[in-house]
Subunit: 367 residues, 2 copies
């Protein structure tokens, strides 16, 4: 992995990553020269016992810009600078211009509820210079690089001493409000352990304490033995529809060896993980033909560890439960925190295994 750090005209940090040495052929741009004046705050929800982030400056953020302006493409017209320079690189990461959390959030003073500074970080991860492509159009090597980039961002954020949990994700699909179609994801970094990560850690630690081994050390052999829910097994990594899937075609990508962080994967494990991830994403697009809207989240152990019980894994939530039929989170999901799923994971996995990958277009021109 090659990488190079830059500072944008408005003060934000940019890192360019490449499989080959990085070279920049233009100025480092920013859509606006004005420094980001984010003053995010958090307030405590006393009944759900979770923080809520307020970022009042976000209301003006980019929304379905006209096709001629793509802030994530390399700048072609210096009169209309984008977020990225021209040059040789594969993946770019920069601080979000509309962050919900910042490392330097000022103390908001007294407020209603428990109010405090919105300390954390929000980064944008641009997967490719190709605006029309998909994540699964990248090569296995490029997806392997993305896994390294996510690991590097996690390590850097941990090194600030202010971050306890890092969530990388990709939210894809105009159906779920995605405003920029250039393939990209985001990173949210929290100065505390958020509810989902806290529950996962507590659950995994209880399992480890009860049975003397990490949950993943049992789950992978069990899924392999059954075979019913495995989508692809690449040896050092595999994909499954978990037996407790909340979304109809929910897909998890798991390492065969239990680790908590992407940075703990060996080169061979990372390569295997990348192949399985690309395979999983291509199958979802092939399932109904066309781009499956989805949310993909990367779950790593909290950074105040070590937490040997926490299982590194990727969860993909495809939003279609049948062709043209979206899954919406309604009463039971939002009001009680429990999902209703119309199809057994065994049936969903069978359909995903049956997708003919030869039929999945690679040019991304299917939307």
């Amino acid at each position: 992995m090659h990488q190079q750090d830059f500072t944008k005209p408005d003060g934000r940090a940019l890192t360019l990553y490449g499989l080959h040495p990085v070279r920049v052929d233009s100025e480092i741009p920013s859509p606006s020269p004005d420094p980001v004046d984010a003053r995010p705050v958090m307030r405590w929800h006393p009944l759900r016992s979770e923080w809520v982030m307020y970022a009042a400056h976000r209301m003006g953020r980019t929304f379905l810009p006209p096709p001629e302006y793509n802030p994530l493409a390399p700048t072609s017209d210096p009169e209309h600078p984008t977020e990225l320079p021209r040059g040789t690189y594969d993946i770019a990461v920069f601080q979000n211009r509309f962050p919900s959390l910042t490392l330097t959030a000022p103390d908001p003073g007294l407020g209603p509820a428990d109010t405090r500074a919105g300390v954390g970080a929000c980064e944008v991860v641009v997967f490719s210079q190709d605006a029309g492509g998909r994540l699964c159009d990248l090569s296995d090597e490029q997806i392997g690089l993305l896994l390294q980039v996510w690991a590097d961002r996690t390590t850097r954020l941990a090194a600030t001493g202010k971050i306890k949990s890092v969530l990388a994700f990709e939210n894809r699909g105009v159906e779920v409000g995605v405003t920029l179609h250039h393939p990209h994801g985001q990173i949210y970094a929290y100065d505390h352990i958020p509810p989902v990560q806290a529950t996962m850690l507590r659950s995994a630690e209880a399992y480890h304490a009860d049975l003397g081994r990490p949950w993943l050390a049992d789950f992978v052999p069990q899924e392999r033995a059954s075979g019913e829910r495995v989508i692809r097994d690449d040896g050092e990594a595999l994909s499954v529809v978990p037996p407790f899937a909340r979304y109809t075609y929910e897909t998890w990508v798991l390492p065969a060896r239990p680790v908590g962080l992407l940075s703990e994967l060996s080169d061979a494990e990372r390569a295997s993980f990348a192949r399985v991830l690309r395979d999983a994403l291509r199958r979802l697009d092939g399932l109904f033909g066309g781009r499956m809207p989805y949310l993909m989240t990367v779950h790593q152990a909290p950074l105040d560890g070590p937490h040997p019980a926490f299982p590194l894994h990727i969860e993909i939530y495809p939003y279609l439960r049948a062709p043209g039929r979206m899954k919406y989170l309604a009463g039971t999901e939002q009001g009680a925190g429990e999902f209703a799923n119309d199809k057994y994971p065994e049936a969903a996995a069978q359909e995903l295994r049956a997708v003919n990958l030869e039929d999945v277009k690679l040019d991304g021109g299917d939307q």
Copy 2:
């Protein structure tokens, strides 16, 4: 409140409720004579520590039927029976034909993960015989009746001895996948305390233990003293945008006296609660003009109590964060369990207070 119980031809239970004596003028219908053969199961999610409900028979459920067939309207053509008879009544409740949970769910036997019977109940609550109306088109008295109906269903479900938590909700808007436009809500009843209710109970009990009084006994006076977030104060009930709102125009309806269940409200308190609820819903429709898509959830104490710390309240999550702009739950909401909100609750409450209710159409013909 008047009420009368019936059994449908397919064996499901139906109750008709009225402000005046109930009278039925036709056979009790069902869209199909076939008994419901639901065999819902639950599986345990070992990392999120929550149950997931599987109801494989739900895939065939009604989806955007042609306008001439409305299963929630009184049957006009006996050749095409609906769910409801003709007659004199205001509100109808019947068992869902496509339930995610049933009181008689059979033991599924061994399965992957922790698998058990999906014991619980799913009911449909039809708010009115008028297919084109909205909940907020009902009179204050009719909304008061709905509060009584929700209370009655909760009492009846508790009396089965199998139910620990009841969630009544309304999910409204084609934007969020609502398939039947006739004004109606649903009830999910669980044989355990789901994650949201468990967290609320734990949080409220910790507050009560720390400060010696229920959370609501402090929250209501604090909101009244500040006034910044109060939308309407009717004396025995009030509406606020809570200081920790997760959705931009999130609105809570609260009783001024802390109680845990709807059945604990006095007649005067219930009447006040109904007036405030109707006012809150009308303001949301008036905010941008047109029907605001929303999820409304009714939070009552778990039924294995008493739980004097648990605050009865209604939460309304409007899905628009600005005209034409939906709030979607993306990475941080689903992957970490923390919401990002673009507007402070104080600003949202000011906008909701400023809605001119004279401008809100009452005929429901604005969609």
